[in-house]
Symmetry: D2
Amino acid sequence: MTNQTLILIQCRDAVGLVALIANTVAEHQLNIVTMREYVDEAANRFYVRIVCAGKANDNEQLAYDLTAALPQGATVTVNPPQQKRLAVLVTKEHHCLGDIIVRHFFGTLGAEVCCVAGNYNDLSTFTKRFGIPFHHVSHEGKSKEQFEAEIAHTLEPYQPDYVVLAKFMRILSPEFVARYPGRIINIHHSFLPAFIGANPYKQAHARGVKLIGATAHFVTNDLDEGPIIAQDIKPVNHSHTVKDMVRAGKEVEKSVLSKALALVIEDRVIITGNKTVVFE
Amino acid sequence: MTNQTLILIQCRDAVGLVALIANTVAEHQLNIVTMREYVDEAANRFYVRIVCAGKANDNEQLAYDLTAALPQGATVTVNPPQQKRLAVLVTKEHHCLGDIIVRHFFGTLGAEVCCVAGNYNDLSTFTKRFGIPFHHVSHEGKSKEQFEAEIAHTLEPYQPDYVVLAKFMRILSPEFVARYPGRIINIHHSFLPAFIGANPYKQAHARGVKLIGATAHFVTNDLDEGPIIAQDIKPVNHSHTVKDMVRAGKEVEKSVLSKALALVIEDRVIITGNKTVVFE
Amino acid sequence: MTNQTLILIQCRDAVGLVALIANTVAEHQLNIVTMREYVDEAANRFYVRIVCAGKANDNEQLAYDLTAALPQGATVTVNPPQQKRLAVLVTKEHHCLGDIIVRHFFGTLGAEVCCVAGNYNDLSTFTKRFGIPFHHVSHEGKSKEQFEAEIAHTLEPYQPDYVVLAKFMRILSPEFVARYPGRIINIHHSFLPAFIGANPYKQAHARGVKLIGATAHFVTNDLDEGPIIAQDIKPVNHSHTVKDMVRAGKEVEKSVLSKALALVIEDRVIITGNKTVVFE
Amino acid sequence: MTNQTLILIQCRDAVGLVALIANTVAEHQLNIVTMREYVDEAANRFYVRIVCAGKANDNEQLAYDLTAALPQGATVTVNPPQQKRLAVLVTKEHHCLGDIIVRHFFGTLGAEVCCVAGNYNDLSTFTKRFGIPFHHVSHEGKSKEQFEAEIAHTLEPYQPDYVVLAKFMRILSPEFVARYPGRIINIHHSFLPAFIGANPYKQAHARGVKLIGATAHFVTNDLDEGPIIAQDIKPVNHSHTVKDMVRAGKEVEKSVLSKALALVIEDRVIITGNKTVVFE
């Protein structure tokens, strides 16, 4: 991305949008390398992700010119921050955090883990080995309001672009979610919308399913109901105990969250209503 | 299977069952080629599927001796019917029926389609081209009781081993289901237990899922709640309309039902409570 | 596609191509609904597939104007034939042909099977049940030249858009291939480039692989070396005999060929050198 | 596994083996919980993996009695070491090592990483953060013989059960391989037997494949030709550069090696000739 210009646009659909955009981009002496575009006909919305060769002379002017050319209310982003900052919330399970931090350490995450906070202290040692600050914010003996205020206060100085719930087992209030609109990513331990709620593997085992799934999604006010970013599954069979299913599930959770983070970090995901447009 | 003996057993678990069974089999001069065994420790149940080289001299005596050796209440099957008879119920959709009948025609189904019955006549021409009887049993203007009585009366002379609901869009009553206990197989248009009920693809589209699934299961009294035999998925994305999802879904439905039928026809599936043991 | 205009373009890459194209399309009063674009930077080639809402007033004028606007040597196709004609060549195996013909019969293939020709007569009965002409062109006692001349002569009156090798087990000469440049589609019984040549399942079994694959590709002069359209796999294990692998392989072959045909029929595949650009 | 007895047997096939084994096990007061058995009819070999509830009073006596009861030349293992020791060889790539070490750290690997040795020093810091010894054994300026002697000398004090080549980019001599017969596991960067040798992703890109694969296998004298343990694939498309394919490939390599290690660590893999029997 070092010598490229990335443009993300969403707006009301209209005739000739691609021509308008392409002309504006050409006026800025940029050559379009990749263009992925989607029109939601039911919602009459237009979405596009454009990669141009070369750096724009003036990102702000380009964004201004595009916005002026497009229908009113357009959202135009030129070159979103390349090195995004992630704050990770955890409880006790390590599989997702481990994967994220190793990628961070070797520089293949495409983003920076600025801090980890946990309502238990279990993952502190691991995190600190990589020089990443770990904050233990217990929920015990606190109201949800207090607990969340502490989490928010903890994250505040890091100014994270995204908050990643890497198996964070507390439900967040709408007030907390509103602090990071469209910027909280959760990994859910099931193939949503199956097995909503607690103990999904126990439910899955009781139901005798032959596939175990996981879902990465943005968090909204409705628990487990936010826009889905990525999903995947792994086969299981009758011989899998609940424990085996949990183990298989952790592998899927890890890879699905990893995939979703890569998509978000590369600015390939646009939220639209309660869905996502993903330009893979 | 022509020169083999297949033995299926389920019973209460106990110490030494494998030795008991293996000895009884050896006394009948049979050599075990494959043995797949499963103990459900929570339910204290033992399941085994054995393939022996050579034909037993006396299937009934072998079954008798095994039953005598095993804990009381054991279910022992020696050489279940090889050429099973399938009755297929349909409405208007052809994708599952088409696949089943082509396999039947070329002798790769491993079973015989003895008849097809539909509450619409749409699939009559196709079915009859293969010399398979098609019965149009309309549900219109009839009570569920009457309609099901007609279906049952239609199937009766064919004495099917299994009734396959190949996109049969009517809900069957417990009374009808009781006629074919553990012998009705349905293909459900979703990754159960997600999207139970009607219009699953519309629901899936509205939810913005990234995978579309299908589930083949035995039919019990509770709609969509019977023992699952097989499940699979196909990836979808934001650009898929409901119609695209339906199309993708049909491909999964077809292959999942095909897989489930092969497993059942080869006697690899044992129902246990509301689950299946599948010796793939 | 009934009220849409489909445009396919490939040409040398240059600055401002998207703007040029979008402007030309807008001048024809068409609104771009979907646009998929790819630049092969190594080859300096530009590829685009555009779907516009509405019918162009004049397809030829649109193609002319686009060609005039683009770099010299551009290939522009406006609304390729919607109802493509497929000629299918077979030997004895039925699984791929069965799938194609059932889709043809129910109108979900998106194309018309105009004829089937086989060097054996085994699939004649099946084909004719659907009112499709079947031609038995034996290869026995003929030189390759003679045999292929007969095949070509047989297909000639049908003027097929594509020739589909649905398990046609004869190698075609460069002369025959040259009659249908980029229009012969083969399904290869392995995950190319593994197991090139004969008896791939025997090779796969001997090697102890854990996955069985299939590859659909365009046919060029080099056997098994043409541009790949689609590939897929199925898991196998130590207990699979060669025969089991063949059976599993047939399922993959069927679904991969089916997928490749759908992509080609919907004009989503562009051949470029020895590769394909597939706008899924 | 804490209160179980695991028995692995391979021998010449004969009539009544299961009965013989089951009786011997029963005489030792053990109850069979799971039994997976396979007969390679072509090779006339019998393989079985048995899990019994409870600890045997005397493992050696049980092994002795089983060996006495079975055909001559049987290999019988009772309770192989539970906490296996892995030595990991690396070059510069971190993705496989990172995954292995994180699992080791959190106790979910099921084995112990006793040491890491690399012909470059790149992964030293990472390894040492987890308190695992890292040995830098450069190959530069040394004959293969010298280099391998140094590696062998480095590993010697750790007495590893398995040597894992986690992207170790040097070809090992038959002499080195002979030190750890059936105990060296490699992850190969392709879907073997496609793209044998160097630069598989470059080859794959040039060939325009639609799937990228990886293969975990035991190392034998023939490069890339040893018994395959596990394989998997990931879809790719025309827009993937060689670099993108490498990135996708690393994800598959990581998960395939991880799966293969889990199978080997749980004693689910038996080598037979140039293949594996895997009791998943």
